[in-house]
């Protein structure tokens, strides 16, 4: 035992080479677009060139006559779905909307909305001309424009929910929600200083490098096979079944490697279409999006406006927080404004909070989950405002946060009382880091921001099979996006007491392992990890039973230590230890193969906190912001594989830097996306960045056997405000709108100069 009472761990906390690593560095790993079936056709989607249009008619006859074209489909080939709420990656969505988003039925609601699809023997033939007669309608792109009276209405059956009395005219505001604790108005009365400002963020795409891709095969007996990359093979199975009206038992989904998701692959786009095209053509159909299609047709996260008002005492105690969030959801209701509300002030010990949220539809692609959905948007406003407060008070921004930080026993600003959390520790780690004290030059500035994400648990299954040579196979149903096979193998090896190289983790298809909710919400290491640990413990119990049988002693007289069964004490008898290999080799003679499955619904995911510190240099001539150094501290509970924890933190931080500085959708006046490619939608490249320093804090999560908390989402929460605060520190200008791209920075500098003249 370690001094703090935690057990000594031999595998957890080490840095073994990931089990799928060699496949991925040699090009052998099969990603979504790498798989093929004999005789497969190429499927392609025809997309709307209009932001908002009524489909008068679709004529597929010419396309069907083209040699090589084997099937053509439109929304008429999809069953009409009645409205039914589903809980997808980031929150409630409606299957009817999901169906309509998969293929437009009566109206197209954004540039890029799928209207038809073709399967053909060649890509050229699949580009077949399909004649669509559109009636172009007025469109609306901006979230606040969409809310004004007289704005083009996307859905004439959408009436704002959450209003009393219920409205009688349709609106683009799907929902209004209010989240309230304490008495905010009274609390502001007690404040000495009040900061109030409005901020705006741009919708940003998850930007995974692998476009969506799948192969589907519909057999004559109605059995469906789907091979695809996604954040959850069980999610694909469930949604395809629902959207096509097929029994789940008819569908088998085999997960391929996934080339990044970040939330953007928590739903289906191509899979239902590929199944329909396969059914109509009688052949397997492969579909892959181009990069342009990824940008035009798949979900970014919301952009939104964030109005923030915070009140504080002169000593720096924050006493009240009020905020209004307006999130655009894209073409259908379902932005992450709910979690945006709840996370807004979660870093702080604050009892009087009110947040009003609006979920607003616009003529843009329906948003999808993106890392800590909603939190980065509200955090940008709140953490910018807290920085402004620090300036007003003349307080160090880290000290101000430490004074107000949530800790164990604090009633969270979203309600419940926090248990063991590491918010203060991440702030202290920033203060103690050398980066905090590096002297800055002219036009250089330092910014800090802290962030929070809930993390989730949920349903997971794992099977552990002991092979006859004493090695083990661990099967789970969660696609490995960032090294989770390694974590699963490590936790199994820890329990079994064997080398991690003797454990082979696999990601199994939907017919070969128990149900697992998708890979998202930072849940896999926590929840699926718990299933792996439970299954491994059952295996150990079985191994002890086999040893007891072999020795003819009671099972509770057997202990498992370092991969061996040993007698529990001298009273138990004098026996030579039986290793896992010994017991596995003889398992046939002691009762049969040794295996165990655990299926559970993990509760009590540990809340995650992180604090980021960034130094920037602003070029006043060009408006370019250079990141000089970057530090991200985060509570991981317990880092199972520290390298991949660091990697998650670094990657999240850099996505946040892109969100802060460059990433945005540019629409022309017709509502067409003008930058659907990586040249003009600029994600960070290596030369934009310094090394990303990390400090991993470990405040164990008591609900996980090794103390793990989710780590993947927290790191994208603080960067935008940290960058804005650093720019403010560098040039004395508070930028309130993302991205803080060179033209915007330059404009702000010019305005500052003009004002000084």
């Amino acid at each position: 035992m370690a001094p703090d009472g935690t057990p000594d761990l031999k595998v957890v906390g080490t840095r073994p080479i990931r089990p799928d690593g060699v496949d991925k560095v040699t090009g052998r790993a099969q990603f979504g677009a790498d798989f093929q079936l004999p005789g497969q056709l190429v499927g392609k989607v025809l997309r709307s060139p209009h932001a908002h249009a009524r489909i008068r008619s679709i004529d597929t006859s010419k396309a069907e006559a083209i040699p090589g074209v084997k099937a053509v489909m439109t929304a008429a080939d999809l069953p009409e779905i009645t409205s039914e709420e589903a809980f997808v990656g980031e929150g409630p969505a409606d299957f009817k909307d999901m169906s309509d988003n998969t293929m437009a039925r009566r109206k197209t609601l954004y540039d890029g909305h799928a209207v038809a699809a073709v399967a053909a023997t060649s890509a050229a033939a699949a580009d077949a001309a399909i004649a669509v007669d559109y009636e172009v309608l007025p469109h609306v792109i901006d979230v606040e424009d969409a809310m004004v009276e007289g704005a083009p209405v996307l859905h004439d059956d959408m009436f704002t929910s959450g209003l009393d009395p219920k409205p009688t005219t349709p609106s683009n505001v799907a929902k209004r929600m209010v989240f309230e604790l304490g008495d905010v108005d009274a609390a502001f009365e007690k404040a000495d200083i009040v900061i109030e400002r409005k901020y705006k963020t741009a919708p940003v795409h998850q930007g995974y490098i692998e476009p969506h891709a799948c192969v589907a095969q519909y057999a004559a007996d109605g059995q469906v096979q789907i091979y695809c990359s996604s954040q959850g093979q069980f999610m694909v199975r469930a949604y395809v079944a629902k959207l096509l009206g097929i029994d789940i038992s008819e569908i088998r989904v085999t997960p391929l490697e996934i080339g990044g998701g970040f939330g953007g692959k928590t739903l289906v786009y191509l899979e239902p279409l590929a199944v329909v095209l396969s059914r109509k053509s009688g052949r397997p159909v492969k579909m892959a999006m181009t990069r342009e299609e990824v940008f035009r047709g798949s979900g970014p996260t919301s952009g939104g406006t964030v109005w923030v008002k915070i009140g504080a005492k002169r000593d720096g105690t924050i006493v009240a927080g009020d905020s209004v969030l307006k999130f655009q959801a894209g073409a259908y209701a379902g932005s992450p404004v709910g979690p945006g509300c709840m996370t807004a002030f979660a870093v702080y010990d604050l009892q009087d909070v009110r947040i009003t949220g609006y979920d607003v539809v616009t003529n843009r692609p329906k948003v999808a989950a993106y890392r800590a959905p909603g939190a980065p948007i509200s955090n940008f406003g709140v953490e910018s405002a807290v920085d402004e407060l620090a300036h007003k008070l003349g307080m160090d921004p880290v000290e101000l946060r430490l004074k107000n930080a949530a800790k164990k026993g604090t009633k969270a600003a979203y309600g419940p009382t926090f248990g063991d959390i590491g918010c203060v520790e991440t702030l202290e780690a920033v203060k103690d880091h050398p980066n905090y004290k590096v002297p800055l030059g002219p036009n250089q500035g330092r910014g800090v921001a802290a962030g929070f994400w809930f993390n989730i648990g949920g349903e997971s299954s794992a099977t552990v099979n002991i092979n006859e040579d004493g090695t083990a196979v661990v099967a789970t149903g969660n696609p490995d996006i960032g090294g989770s096979r390694a974590s699963m193998a490590m936790m199994a090896a820890e329990v079994l007491g064997i080398d991690v190289e003797r454990v082979r983790p696999i990601v199994a298809d939907t017919s070969s392992v128990g149900y697992c909710f998708l890979t998202g919400g930072s849940r896999v290491t926590f929840a699926t990890g718990m299933a792996v640990v439970e299954a491994s413990k059952s295996v150990v119990n079985e191994l002890k039973a086999r040893a007891a049988k072999t020795w003819d002693i009671p099972v509770d007289a057997v202990e498992w230590q370092d991969g061996e069964a040993i007698p529990a004490g001298s009273n138990a008898g004098d026996f030579e230890p039986l290793s896992l290999e010994d017991l596995a080799a003889k398992s046939g003679r002691t009762g049969g193969p040794i295996a165990a499955t655990s299926s559970l619904n993990a509760q009590g995911a540990g809340p995650g906190f992180g604090t980021h510190l960034v130094d920037v240099e602003v070029d006043r001539e060009t408006g370019h912001v250079k990141v000089l150094r970057y530090l991200a501290t985060q509570d991981a509970g317990r880092a199972i594989h520290p390298s991949y924890v660091e990697g998650q933190i670094q990657g999240g931080a850099v996505q946040g830097i892109g969100w802060a500085l460059n990433e945005e959708y540019i629409y022309d006046d017709k509502g067409r996306l003008e930058n659907p490619g990586f040249l003009d939608y600029r994600i960070p490249v290596a030369s934009d960045l310094p090394m990303i320093d990390t400090v991993v804090i470990e405040v164990p999560n008591p609900r996980h056997p090794y103390g793990a908390r989710g780590v993947g989402e927290v790191p994208i929460v603080p960067p935008m405000a940290a960058m804005a605060n650093a720019i403010q520190d560098a040039i004395g200008i508070r930028l309130t709108e993302l991205p803080m791209s060179p033209p915007k920075v330059r404009k702000a500098v010019d305005e500052q100069a003009a004002a000084e003249e």
């Binding site: 709420e85 809980f87 997808v88 990656g89 980031e90 929150g91 409630p92 959450g162 009393d164 209004r176 929600m177 209010v178 989240f179 309230e180 604790l181 998850q206 970040f262 939330g263 953007g264 928590t266 992450p336 709910g338 979690p339 709840m342 989950a369 993106y370 890392r371 800590a372 959905p373 979203y414 309600g415 419940p416 009382t417 926090f418 248990g419 994400w453 809930f454 993390n455 989730i456 648990g457 949920g458 349903e459 998202g520 919400g521 930072s522 849940r523 619904n601 509760q603 009590g604 995911a605 609900r703 989710g710 993947g712 989402e713």
Partner: protein, 82 residues
């Protein structure tokens, strides 16, 4: 007896704006039943769409979770993730 706190308008719409109430329920399933009886629609809302934090620990889709005597229970919108 547990203290039930409704922070969100999605729940308060069923209680006429009431933000706090008490319940004798000893599990989330019991709470769902109790709320449905007292505020028709609220029980279903909690079962389908809300997370339940019991003494600070978040539960989703977990009807069997016990609610201890004197517990502080928050009803929050469900959390997803990316």
């Amino acid at each position: 007896m547990a203290r039930i706190v409704l922070t969100h308008s999605a729940c308060r719409q069923y209680t006429g704006g009431m933000a706090e109430l008490e319940s004798d329920a000893t599990s989330i399933r019991g709470l769902v039943r109790d709320l449905e009886v007292r505020f028709p629609g609220l029980g279903r809302q909690v079962e389908e769409s809300m997370a339940v934090a019991i003494d600070g620990v978040m539960h989703q889709d977990d009807l069997t979770a016990p609610i201890p005597e004197g517990a502080e229970v928050y009803l929050l919108p469900r959390i997803g993730g990316g």
